[in-house]
């Protein structure tokens, strides 16, 4: 017996929620960024499952593009984090509070 679409959707929503939890509770910018990647991959998993159960190839092509954009996004985001660290000597979001009055 093959797993149903529901189980894939539940798994991907659970992964998304775990990534969301990490973004909310962690204070290290790099770990927050890793959790963001986790959320992105969870959405990708849902897309692939829907595409498979729908019997079309379009979802797979979209996931191909998502992977490309994610690679570019990670490069730019980590570049920004390194620039931030050079300017402030910290990546803890608690200490990045120059907008706080």
């Amino acid at each position: 017996m093959t797993p149903s679409l529901d189980s894939y959707v539940m798994l991907s929503s659970a992964l998304f929620a775990i990534g969301f939890l990490g973004v909310l509770v962690r204070r290290n910018t790099l770990v927050i960024y890793m959790c963001l990647e986790l959320m992105l991959v969870a959405a990708t998993l849902a897309l692939v499952a829907f595409s498979r159960f729908n019997g079309t190839e379009e979802g797979d092509v979209f996931v191909f593009f998502i992977l490309t954009v994610a690679a570019a996004e990670v490069a730019v985001g980590l570049g920004i984090i390194v620039a931030l660290f050079r300017a402030r000597q910290t990546v803890q979001v608690d200490q990045l509070d120059s907008l706080k009055n």
């Binding site: 969301f20 986790l38 692939v48 092509v61 570019a72 984090i81």
Partner: protein, 170 residues
């Protein structure tokens, strides 16, 4: 058989994802992310998306996690105080994540479909169809992706250069 494999892989993936969130050390978190991505690649194989599983391992596990590890080593964050859950934030985070997961599942299960997965074709024919679509229907997005990668590369170069110039000025 497939159901057992799905259960094992999904439990492994969820455990690794939780480990990413809860690990005290950022390097351990990156390693758990790597294992989590390997589990998701296994799920892609179960969904007959072989090319995507290969690409996920190549791009994410090969490039993205390596880049994360490189930046963690570069910034050398091991000296900071260990991370701990703070009461109010932890409760708020768990409640928010629980609300999110229940809402998503309610939306997903409302449009429940009873049908199983259609039979998959041969691996080779699927790849051929895939490549054909990529170079006919989706030719413009492929070109746009190429430009996007170029722009991202230029952006990262500019980002890292400007900061070093400022440091030289100081």
């Amino acid at each position: 058989m497939e159901q057992i494999a799905f259960t094992v892989i999904s439990a492994f993936t969820l455990a690794c994802a939780l480990c990413v969130v809860l690990s005290k050390n950022a390097v351990n978190g990156a390693m758990c992310l790597l294992l989590c991505l390997a589990g998701i690649a296994g799920l892609f194989v179960q969904l007959h998306a072989y090319l995507l599983a290969f690409l996920l391992v190549l791009v994410y596990a090969g490039a993205v996690v390596a880049l994360f590890l490189f930046i963690i080593m570069l910034l050398d964050m091991q000296g900071g105080q260990p991370w701990r859950l703070r009461g109010f934030q932890a409760v708020a985070g768990v409640i928010a994540a629980g609300l999110l997961i229940s809402g998503l599942d309610m939306i997903a299960l409302r449009g429940r479909t009873a049908g199983g997965a259609p039979a998959a074709g041969e691996v080779g024919s699927s790849l051929k169809l895939y490549a054909y679509q990529l170079f006919t229907t989706y030719l413009l997005p492929v070109e746009v992706m190429g430009f996007l990668l170029l722009i991202a590369m230029l952006g990262v170069i500019v980002l890292s250069r400007r900061v070093s110039n400022e440091e030289d000025a100081q």
